[in-house]
């Protein structure tokens, strides 16, 4: 080791650089996994699915706030509101009789924690005497090329229904005030049917690949009814990876590689050396002919 001090310094600098790279790398990797929507936004929708309960006013409060963030007036049975985007966090949902004062005691209330990039349905379910608020976690993922369907059974007249998709049973027995799990179905336009003991509802529904649907079975004015909600949609066939959308014309360019020029200088040096040595040799031979 001819220059121990220099070698030690080089080693120290290398370790410092490695440590710095690690410290910078960790937050960089974390940033690369950022969430989709504005960091910290989820979705919530509100529904009235209790057949013999009169219309209600629905209030959404963010935790700790006495002023409602969202108020839906006169929500009647069978209504599902559109999704509202809200900041992720803790909320409470309250239902009051339609037209009741905002400061009056709610008929029902429940708390719900809204996670970022998650969606929720909060519905008044059950018979009027047993009314409850149910918080449903809504699925926002689909298997590639397929659709997801679930059934909310909100018909009191048909205590249980069987639900079929294109003639094939997907929910064999949906009881009143129940929510089925999500079922994967092939993409396509299907006749969905809800079959009860004394009533049937059918509807042609297009289930595109990459979509999530909720079917709600209801007591309509003319018998059993079914509404089809498209909860979410994405690319039916998600692309693989990102996009090759750049050719570098505006990218910064560092100094060109010195290698080709260094190689040229090297080759030139070899040539010059060869030529120069030959010149010297010939010159020497001419100077010292006796030595040959």
């Amino acid at each position: 080791m001819r220059f121990p001090r220099i070698t030690r310094t080089i080693r120290r600098i290398t370790m410092l650089l490695a440590a710095a790279a690690l410290l910078l790398g960790v937050p960089a990797a974390a940033a690369a996994h950022a969430s989709s929507a504005t960091p910290g936004t989820g979705w919530i929708r509100l529904a009235h699915l209790s057949p013999n309960t009169p219309a209600v006013d629905v209030y959404l409060y963010s935790f700790g706030n006495s002023d409602a963030q969202i108020v839906l007036h006169h929500v009647a049975y069978g209504t599902v509101s559109p999704y509202e985007a809200v900041t992720a966090g803790d909320y409470s949902v309250a239902m009051r009789a339609a037209g009741a004062s905002a400061s009056s005691q709610p008929v029902l209330s429940t708390s719900v924690t809204i996670g970022a990039d998650h969606a929720y349905t909060v519905a008044g379910m059950g018979p009027e005497k047993g009314l409850r608020l149910q918080v449903m976690d809504d699925d926002l993922t689909t298997p590639p090329g397929k659709a997801l369907v679930r059934v909310i059974q909100a018909s009191l007249k048909q205590q249980t229904v069987k639900v079929t998709c294109g003639g094939k049973t997907i929910v064999p027995k949906a009881s009143f005030a129940s929510v089925s799990s999500y079922l994967t179905v092939p993409a396509g336009t299907w006749t969905m049917a809800a079959i009860g003991s004394s009533g049937t509802a059918t509807q042609s529904v297009t289930l595109a690949a990459g979509t999530v649907h909720t079917l709600v079975v209801l007591d309509g004015s003319n018998g059993l009814e079914m509404i089809s909600l498209e909860d979410a949609a994405g690319a039916g066939k998600p692309p693989l990876g990102g996009a090759a959308t750049g050719f570098g014309g505006t990218a910064p360019h560092g100094p060109g590689s010195p290698l080709p020029w260094a190689a040229l200088i090297g080759a030139g040096s070899l040539l010059a050396l060869t030529g120069g040595l030959r010149l010297r040799r010939r010159g020497l031979r001419r100077q010292l002919p006796a030595e040959v």
């Binding site: 014309g249 040229l264 200088i265 030139g268």
Partner: protein, 212 residues
Amino acid sequence: MAFRRPAAIIFAAGLVVIAAGTAGLLLTRHSTPAMRPVAAGLEALPAPTGPIVAPPQSAGPRPVAAPVSLTIPLIGVSTKLIRLGLASDGSLQVPPITDTAVAGWYTGSPRPGAIGSAIIVGHIDTVHGPAVFDRLSELRKGDQVYVRRADGTLVKFLVTAVQQYLKNQFPTQAVYGPTPDAELRLITCGGVFDTATGHYLSNIVVYAAQAS
């Protein structure tokens, strides 16, 4: 003397090559900075005019007309939208190199203004200079994006986030997965340009949601 000539030529040639190499080396020591537009905002376009549609309802969603053009006033983007599919390797098809001034809508994604995440793709640059999405990374939350549809209606979106991802860590679910509202993802390249492969290492994704 006759025997010295080839040697002399070789020697002289060597000197010339050394001179050329040195000159080349010295002339290529400079760096070119990133080609970024100078006056942001001066090229802003007026917002397009036309009937702005309301966000879609989940109950019985009506089919929406196909997108035909994209306008991003703040960064001077005004382009027709061509239709893109998937490349043979399953990745996103991109606008052709002969037409880097246009953006394209991935037909396998929902239409802009329908429930779900509509995907629009454009180049950041050509080999020589900027392309349609050159200034995409300048967008910030709240900036307006407009899509004109084949029936003449306008869909207005507001930017919700701008992210950059390494292509080998691309978050497929976040970008292409289902959303409950009408959303847009504008995708272009960004980050470090790898001169060895001729590709950027990252993608820039601008998220936007339809404004009610």
